[in-house]
């Protein structure tokens, strides 16, 4: 990552579906290593914004930059995606063991199977999921699945982490572990974190500022 450019920059940005803008942002910088909460009512456009940052939603107008480079072509989006990660509200776990799920991103980067699985086991242990490592990921509870998806995303050491309600259906214990992992990724490894939540207390615990999306327009304010 270059030192000068922010993790994300949005310029004259609007995104939505079928040509109709759901969320509009004139200008926004998300700094490297920064943690920003996304707040807004259901349907306000939080998921649309997160998916636009990841390249799954193409802006209706304007541009999204990742580390100074515009994400305006398939190759640019693919290159940016290799350096960031996105976890949806209901993460999709592959129909295999939890450790194979966690190792997936490493295998996709050409890490040999043995090393990928060793690193997956180590990270699962850190997240308190050792006992579940060899279980089929589809048999995990909602909280365990969310945590496994986060571990799977973090193993690739992403430079940016996009999380759509990361603790939406998670119990208190798993919420604590997920929040600790998010803070560690940002503080120790310098990842930018953008997460949507309905929980203002959680937003305050994890971030110093928030993007409020109201009536389709977004503004950034301190928490």
């Amino acid at each position: 990552m270059t030192q000068t450019s922010p993790a994300f920059r949005l310029e004259n940005f609007a995104a939505g579906y079928d040509g109709r803008a759901v969320v509009e942002i004139d200008f926004l910088d998300i700094p490297k290593g920064g943690r920003i909460a996304l707040l807004g009512a259901n349907g306000a456009g939080k998921t649309t914004l997160l998916r636009a940052l990841n390249g799954f939603v193409k802006p209706i107008r304007g541009r999204v930059f990742f580390d100074g480079s515009p994400m305006d072509s398939v190759s640019a989006v693919n290159a940016a995606r290799k350096r960031m990660t996105y976890i949806s509200q209901t993460p999709f776990l592959f129909n295999c063991s939890a450790r194979a799920n966690v190792a997936y991103g490493l295998r996709a980067r050409g890490v040999p199977a043995r090393e990928a699985f060793e690193r997956a086991d180590a990270l699962l242990e850190r997240a308190g999921l050792s006992k579940l490592a060899r279980r089929n990921a589809r048999s995990l509870s909602g909280g365990e699945a969310q945590l496994t998806a986060l571990v799977r995303a973090l193993i690739i050491n992403p430079e940016a982490i996009l999380l759509d309600e990361p603790t939406g259906n998670v119990d208190a214990a798993n919420t604590e572990t997920i929040e600790a992992l998010i803070l560690d990724s940002s503080d120790a490894r310098g990842a930018a974190v953008v997460f949507s939540t309905h929980n203002v207390e959680q937003a305050r615990r994890l971030a110093a500022s928030a993007i409020y999306i109201e009536h389709g327009s977004a503004s950034i304010r301190p928490l």
Partner: protein, 234 residues
């Protein structure tokens, strides 16, 4: 009723004694249908994935054509195949008419739209989420596509099983492109038609029993695969 009973009893004997005529028709049906289905899977599954995943001009028309082709009578496909493969046809030089290869080509054309359409549905049901997840983890598009196939394996296998069921049970293509030649291109369905017209109900019934058993096995396999696919899509 007595006549039916006697024919059925003789049919069972023919199956139990592995009658060469019956076995030859069973074997021809199985290997031509397997070959056609395998080819359709190789072409149809990637095509189904592509149609489900990409927006391209004419996509709607492609889906409409595929749906229309699924309902195409087998005898019409046989007729078109005949026109292509007959000595004066564009592919007549290859002398494929009345050979197992012609039957495989015809059955391939018959089951391809079904394979593409069912693969498309399978890819739509869970493929997008699997593909997006793979991409967010840094997979290339090719690896993401392989992941979708692996994740949807039971649904894709259902498509293949359904295609095999259609291929093995059809008569129009086998009759018109195979010619119902004894020991070479005579399948279970063409043999049933012939033996019935000759009044040889025992042989026809024996083959009918084998065909029904096969249809039952394919349907049991499809139901089991669909149950696994439903689990996998959760």
């Amino acid at each position: 009723m007595g006549y039916m009973g006697a024919s059925l009893s003789e049919a069972v004997n023919l199956i139990a004694s592995a009658d060469p005529e019956v076995m030859s028709a069973v074997w021809t049906s199985l290997y031509t249908s397997f070959a056609a289905t395998a080819l359709a899977a190789v072409v149809g599954i990637p095509a189904g994935l592509a149609v489900a995943s990409y927006r391209f001009p004419g996509r709607g028309a492609t889906i409409t054509i595929l749906n229309t082709l699924m309902a195409m009578p087998t005898v019409v496909i046989g007729l078109l195949g005949y026109a292509m493969l007959t000595r004066n046809g564009p592919l007549g030089v290859y002398e494929l008419l009345y050979t197992p290869a012609a039957m495989i080509i015809g059955q391939f054309v018959l089951v391809l739209p079904l394979t593409v359409t069912l693969s498309m549905s399978a890819a739509r049901s869970m493929g997008r989420r699997a593909a997006e997840t793979a991409l967010t983890l840094g997979a290339t598009r090719a690896r993401a596509a392989a992941t979708v196939v692996l994740e949807g394996r039971f649904a894709f296998m259902t498509a293949v099983a359904a295609a095999f069921g259609r291929a093995v049970g059809e008569v129009g293509v086998a009759m018109m492109l195979g010619g119902n030649i004894r020991g070479a291109t005579r399948t279970m369905t063409t043999a049933i038609a012939l033996e019935t017209s000759k009044g040889e109900f025992a042989v026809a019934l024996a083959l009918g029993v084998v065909l029904m058993t096969l249809a039952l096995a394919v349907n049991i396999a499809i139901r089991a695969l669909q149950a696994r696919a439903g689990e996998a899509a959760r």
